[in-house]
């Protein structure tokens, strides 16, 4: 990691709403507020972990940042450029620097393409390297992710989940990106394979100076790999801090509950936990005031009316709660 923190990605007030159409004329009846005004920065060479439960908007945030989904509001500064101001062609060129690794290694590789075609597709799209040079590059990439270059002529179905995820990673690395958005990259893998892929991602970060936006619901995984962590609930960031701040001394009541719900692989560690009542409310009509107040164990009257902003509560840590 560089000594001086230098931001690579700065996201300000990002919003992404999905319209819900109803009736014969498909009028817009409501919006799913998937990402509702989130801001954070990621420094060069660091891993920012975005954690939250299903439906909290973490995946939508990742995609909106890459403009795989068009954001509705906000700004995204990437490597000194305002991403949202780019035209189609400029964006396509800029995408070389930002890649994504998907969760499902079964759905993200085209079953009719050979591994050679899959991994060399980025070269084809961006007209880089041809013929034997392209072939050599693919072989190098496969070696980098721990696969033998002899696999090039095989098809995805011949590989296990872990190997497929390695292929997906090789494809993401092809254009030497600066930022990789990793969306639940190990969630579909077995425990023993998860560790292999997490180590590989850490090695590649060292080797190529990569910056990661790592999205996951698995808190121990996020803690292990991230430098800083952002916790999302119902489209909002509720707490942001260093990995250690968040995981050893969480301040927001939701972060506390989330951490306390994580089962520990040690029967002696069975503990009294903060079990949250109820379910996550719908993001179509989120609760007024603090979105977490309906499940919060310490909520007071003010939480039902006033929405707490994300504010700095100590060095390097922000939280959105009136009571911390």
């Amino acid at each position: 990691m560089p000594d001086v923190a230098e931001p690579l990605l700065s996201v300000q007030h990002l919003k992404k709403y999905f319209p819900i159409h109803r009736g014969v004329f498909g009028r817009v009846a409501a919006h799913v507020k998937a990402v509702d005004d989130i801001s954070f920065t990621i420094n060069k060479g660091e891993t920012f972990g975005l954690v939250g439960e299903s439906g909290c908007g973490k995946t939508t945030a990742g995609r909106a940042i890459l403009r795989l989904l068009e954001p509705d509001a906000g700004t995204i500064q990437f490597d000194g450029i305002d991403l949202l101001s780019l035209g189609k062609e400029q964006l396509r060129r800029k995408r070389r620097d930002m890649q994504i690794i998907f969760q499902d290694p079964y759905a993200s590789l085209n079953p009719r393409m050979t591994i050679r075609t899959i991994v060399s597709e980025p070269f084809a799209i961006h007209h880089i390297a041809r013929g034997s040079e392209r072939n050599d590059r693919v072989a190098d990439l496969l070696k980098t992710v721990g696969l033998d270059s002899s696999v090039m002529n095989r098809y995805p179905h011949e590989f296990s989940g872990g190997q497929r995820q390695r292929i997906g990673i090789a494809r993401a690395l092809a254009l030497k990106p600066k930022l990789i958005v990793a969306d639940e990259p190990v969630s579909a893998l077995d425990v023993s394979i998860q560790a292999q892929i997490i180590n590989l991602l850490a090695d590649l970060q060292q080797q190529f100076g990569l910056t990661y936006l790592f999205i996951s619901h698995a808190i121990p995984v996020i803690e292990h790999i991230s430098t800083r962590i952002g916790v999302m609930y119902l489209g909002k960031l509720v707490e942001v801090g260093t990995s250690q701040q968040i995981c050893t001394a969480p301040k927001h009541p939701y972060t506390q509950a989330l951490l306390s719900a994580v089962p520990i692989p040690d029967p002696a560690a069975r503990k009294e936990r903060v079990v949250l009542r109820g379910d996550v409310p719908t993001p179509i009509d989120p609760p007024a005031g603090c979105r977490f107040h309906t499940r919060c164990p310490i909520a007071v009257d003010r939480c039902k009316i006033d929405e707490p902003p994300l504010r700095q509560i100590e060095d390097g840590r922000d939280a959105a709660c009136h009571l911390v």
Partner: protein, 349 residues
């Protein structure tokens, strides 16, 4: 509501006892004993020994955790106990004793009376396990009418009561809901209510919380554990998640490539694992709250799970094992006792 339930429970029990007098003759406190169970799949490419000589016991009111990675045979073990194996799979050997009665020798008709009434299952995906066009109350009531002579009204009342027992708020109203109207956590509660409504002796929960968020998972695990204590249920909990297993199981069995490689009290298996596979699994999961020393790499077991069609001779784990020697691959490795109630399938343990 608890009063009503404790009144009705011994009643249902008496009915079952009178149907099977042999139950009371059994001196063993084990509700379930699985002995040398073998389930093979006879495929075109060859024989897959999905469950190969698996033995364990589940005492009354206790929880056995069955842990392993995908394809290790943990779900097939559960399906063999309930005899839900379909061709090309077949149970080729062993015994499954439920309160002393061997389920393997029962006819399909007799078995149907066992399923749902004496053994019930909770599956991973509550959305696919529920019928989308029937109300949840109807589906729970159906389970009652399938096994007991009760009126429709009574079956419905039992369904609502079971929904209350799994802490579904507003149970009378919710019983008229369809599955899509409920959240994932609520649907899993419905599945649990359905599993418990006939007061089974044994409940098999196959990855019951894998599809749920961690805060909901915590609710469901807590619920399962309190119901087990309240009704003296015997529970088999199947999971790939060591944390979930550690949370609720008294006894833990670790499976690899169709075999149990280590079995023992949860404390022993988690604190003093003897099999290199168990050790590797425990070391490869990142632990919460260890960020200070976390810059180390994770321990990773090399290689991948073997193809069950082409298992190596001797110990199936040998190719990935850091302790392997030439002897490991010579012959079948037996499960051997290393301490009181702690058995390990490794010659180097």
């Amino acid at each position: 509501m608890t009063d009503e339930r404790s009144e009705c429970k011994p009643d249902a029990k008496r009915k079952r006892d009178s149907a099977q007098p042999q139950e009371t003759l059994q001196p063993s406190r084990d509700v379930l004993e699985v002995k040398n169970l073998k389930t093979y799949f006879f495929t075109d490419e060859g024989i897959v020994k999905a469950v190969d000589d698996v033995s364990f016991r589940v005492p009354k009111g206790k929880t056995l955790g069955l842990v392993g990675e995908s394809g290790c045979g943990k779900s097939i073990t559960a399906m063999s106990i309930t005899r839900l194996i379909s061709p090309p799979g077949r149970i080729v050997g062993g015994e499954v004793l439920l309160n002393g009665r061997n389920l393997i020798s029962l006819s399909e008709r007799e078995m149907r009376q066992v399923r749902g009434a004496q053994i019930s299952m909770i599956f991973q995906e509550p959305m696919t396990a529920l019928n989308p066009v029937l109300t949840v109350g109807f589906q729970i009531a159906e389970a009652v009418s399938a096994h007991e002579r009760v009126s429709k009204r009574e079956a419905w009342a039992r369904a609502v009561e079971a929904m209350k027992a799994v802490s579904i708020p507003d149970a009378e109203k919710r019983a008229k809901d369809y599955p899509h109207q409920l959240s994932g956590g609520m649907r899993q509660r419905i599945m649990i209510a359905m599993a418990l409504v006939c007061h089974p002796a044994l409940v098999i929960a196959d990855e019951p919380t894998t599809a749920l968020d961690v805060t909901i998972q915590a609710q469901i695990l807590e619920l399962l554990d309190s119901l087990r204590a309240q009704y003296q249920l015997s529970l088999i909990l199947i999971s790939h998640d060591l944390g979930v297993i550690a949370e609720v199981a008294e006894t833990v069995a670790v499976m690899y490539a169709g075999k149990i490689v280590e079995i023992g009290a949860a404390m022993d298996v988690f604190h003093n694992p003897k099999h290199p596979y168990t050790q590797g699994l425990l070391r490869s999961v990142p632990r919460l709250g260890t960020s200070v020393e976390k810059r180390d790499r994770l321990y990773a077991i090399e290689g991948t799970v073997p193809n069950l069609l082409h298992l190596p001779g001797g110990c199936s784990f040998a190719p990935r094992c850091y302790k392997r020697t030439a002897e490991c691959t010579l012959a079948e490795i037996p499960l051997e006792r290393v301490a009181e109630l702690h058995e390990v399938r490794c010659i180097h343990a």
